[in-house]
Symmetry: C2
Subunit: 432 residues, 2 copies
């Protein structure tokens, strides 16, 4: 029995998805039961890498989601609207939905899953996080026996490419961004990537799955990589670290496991940590739980082929269920979203983390004492204070703290900023 | 609605499994619908880390698989018999089965899945490969859109621990094995691990899932790590490699994708390869496919907690399906075994691979010419020939080849063995 797909969007990922479905030989035989029934696009005149029979392509996106013959709507438009409305309309027509749209799910997941549960349909989103890496389904179906304690990911390929290039070439952010834009690894408007917004969308989704509660996108604390300098990468290297943009969700792993930390920021990662060697456009997600310990999922975080692999796997999962289902089936509780409550998020001032801070100072011998006193007065315990170089007349001092309360650290910094000997604090970064 | 489990075996993994099910707070809520109804053990008198109500534990294993109240039989006995017979009996009673038993599935998978398909029940085995790492379900459910070209794994923790220790300590195999046995990382009879048999069981299972055909366990070519010496590890290091016991399944990734290479052997792996940094008892599986590219799954390959996490995830998957199913459901084609044919395996003589070989020779200047000629006469192209040291009077020469036909390489070696200048060929290893 053949199942009919309605595809919304025929850009990079849409084209990759169609190419897999139209050429099933050598892949899982279930693909032979899937046909592309309609493809909704913005323009019929654009040259395309895939060809469809007449009548399949249409600019009427509503007609795709309303077509009574279609079993599964695959939303690959990106952006918030009309994607959100079309997804909701497809659900109201009792169609299952597959989407790669992290932005819509991170913001409107609540509304979308309520509607999907009422309609008795699935909304799957493997491609929304980590491109081709299976991470959504493993979190839903393979790790539920555990009390998850943390999910830490490198889940934005653009920023990981930029940081990797900065590290290997010793170049500054601006240069590498321009190069990445030329190569197509960064968009003309790089905001969503370099400011951490894309990673924040994704960690909101992963946290919701791993910690079993809904997450408000605006609760994710977010810092991008614009301020990371070549100097910091060099100093981090000397101290045994690399700098990565990490997306972090941390719970308590116990009964009160829905008190979560949720944050995206550039982070010093020890070179011996499994995430330290994830370079270029690759992504990786490290999940820690009890009794499992650490597992890591690694692979290509973007690109037509990998992302289409994830999209098609979701389509196949739904088709497998439809094919084996009798009447009166309910939704599989591991594949649908059964969360009823929102996770409580710890404000950033209350989290505990290690810090790296770089200071430019005028008067070296006196200032180390002043720094130590100011930090000590606010319960900020220091792991190392190193005078790492000079910039002209000014000494450059790098401080690494133990695990401290972020609020205390910030209060101490406010005090330090007013010290006469302190010329500048050019960087403050967290340490994993 | 509660679903009832019959547990066979209460060793390390059985105990870990029971501990998770008996303490569901903070884990996926579906666990609250699972109860342990009977536990089959060999002895009732052994001290246990988990306690059950009277009447739950029994030494009558048949009574567990025949109990009409039990929905899912969880086989954690290990070994071939009575595990195989009990699994078949459970299936004949229309019970779903979860097992961690790679040896039984690798040898009797054909018989077991035929029976399971006829009875309409699932036999899930996430814990059989890679301990806590989700790899079976991702291969079944997340990667099927791809033409898989290779699956390469470090899937035996004992040998990876031994090779890692040999590398970091410069120690020889025998010493490290003795130490590993003392620490409990290797068994008193280490054969199954160090001779590669356990890894061969596991790659047979992964290959079957990845390449969509049944695999005969005896078709897996298998070499263990007993002959790997500290000297080879040192020389490999100088050439930019580490030595790992790899389990390799390679296809053609095309229409004829069921012509497979299947092999387990110690292998030189470039230090820049993702598998090179997998150390100690950790496991990792690298899957390559089209259009996906490479994804890697990494985590703890053994141990009570990780393995129990995988066992319980399988139980939860079955419960989720039972809970959401109406009457007359068929088996989900992605979760059941639908293969009808056996994969064709390429004989080891016909594979193409790179080789590393170490020679002890008497007469250095002449011998390099002789080596080069003998290899050249059999189409074995050399990447490097390095005189790497002396052992007494004898020069030590290390040769690394390009990709060559294994049969040709062996014929050349037979010829070289008869050269007067060659005193010994202490090691021959493949290079990834």
């Amino acid at each position: 029995m053949a199942f009919k797909i309605g595809l919304l969007g025929l850009g990079t990922v849409g084209t990759g998805t169609a190419q897999i479905i139209l050429d099933p030989a050598g892949r899982n035989p279930l693909l032979q039961d899937i046909t592309i029934h309609k493809v909704g696009v913005r323009s019929l005149d654009k040259p395309r890498q895939v060809q469809f029979l007449p009548g399949i392509m249409t600019t009427d996106l509503e007609a795709v989601v309303n077509d009574p013959d279609i079993d599964i709507v695959v939303e690959l438009l990106g952006g918030l609207e009309p994607a959100r409305s079309l997804i909701l309309q497809a659900i109201s027509q009792k169609k299952h939905v597959v989407t790669a749209n992290k932005a819509v799910i991170a913001r409107y997941g609540d509304e979308i899953y309520e509607a999907a549960n009422q309609a008795g349909v699935y909304v799957l989103l493997e491609a929304a996080v980590g491109g081709g890496i299976p991470i959504i389904k493993p979190l839903k179906q393979s790790l539920g026996a555990n009390r998850i304690t943390s999910i830490i990911g490198i889940i934005n390929g653009t920023t990981n490419y930029i940081l990797t290039q900065m590290t290997t070439e010793g170049a500054d952010f601006g240069e590498v961004l321009a190069e990445a834009q030329k190569l197509g690894y960064a968009e003309a408007d790089p905001t969503a990537d370099v400011d951490g917004l894309d990673a924040a969308d994704k960690i909101a989704i992963l946290a919701s799955l791993g910690f079993g509660g809904r997450v408000k996108r605006e609760d994710v604390y977010c810092e991008g990589i614009r301020k990371v300098s070549a100097a910091d990468i060099t100093y981090a290297d000397r101290l045994g670290f690399v700098i990565k943009l990490l997306a972090i969700a941390k719970g308590t792993g116990g009964e009160a496991s829905d008190r979560l930390q949720l944050r995206v920021h550039p982070t010093l990662v020890s070179k011996t940590h499994p995430l330290a060697s994830i370079n270029g456009v690759y992504n990786a997600v490290l999940v820690e739980g009890n009794p499992l310990g650490q597992v890591m999922f690694y692979g290509p975080g973007a690109g037509a082929g990998p992302t289409a692999s994830a999209v098609v796997s979701d389509i196949m999962n739904i088709v497998a269920i439809l094919q084996s289902s009798g009447p009166n089936n309910g939704l599989d509780p591991l594949l649908s979203c059964v969360h009823q409550h929102f996770c409580q998020i710890t404000p950033i001032e209350q989290i505990e983390t290690r810090f790296y801070a770089r200071f430019l100072t005028k008067d070296l011998p006196g200032v180390i004492g002043h720094l130590g006193t100011a930090f000590g007065d606010h319960q900020v315990s220091l792991e190392s204070v190193v005078q790492i170089g000079f910039q002209g007349e000014q000494a450059e001092i790098v401080v690494v703290t133990h695990n401290v309360c972020e609020g205390n650290f910030r209060t101490a910094l406010d005090e330090i900023r007013n010290l006469e000997a302190i010329a500048d604090i050019p960087s403050i970064l967290r340490v994993l």
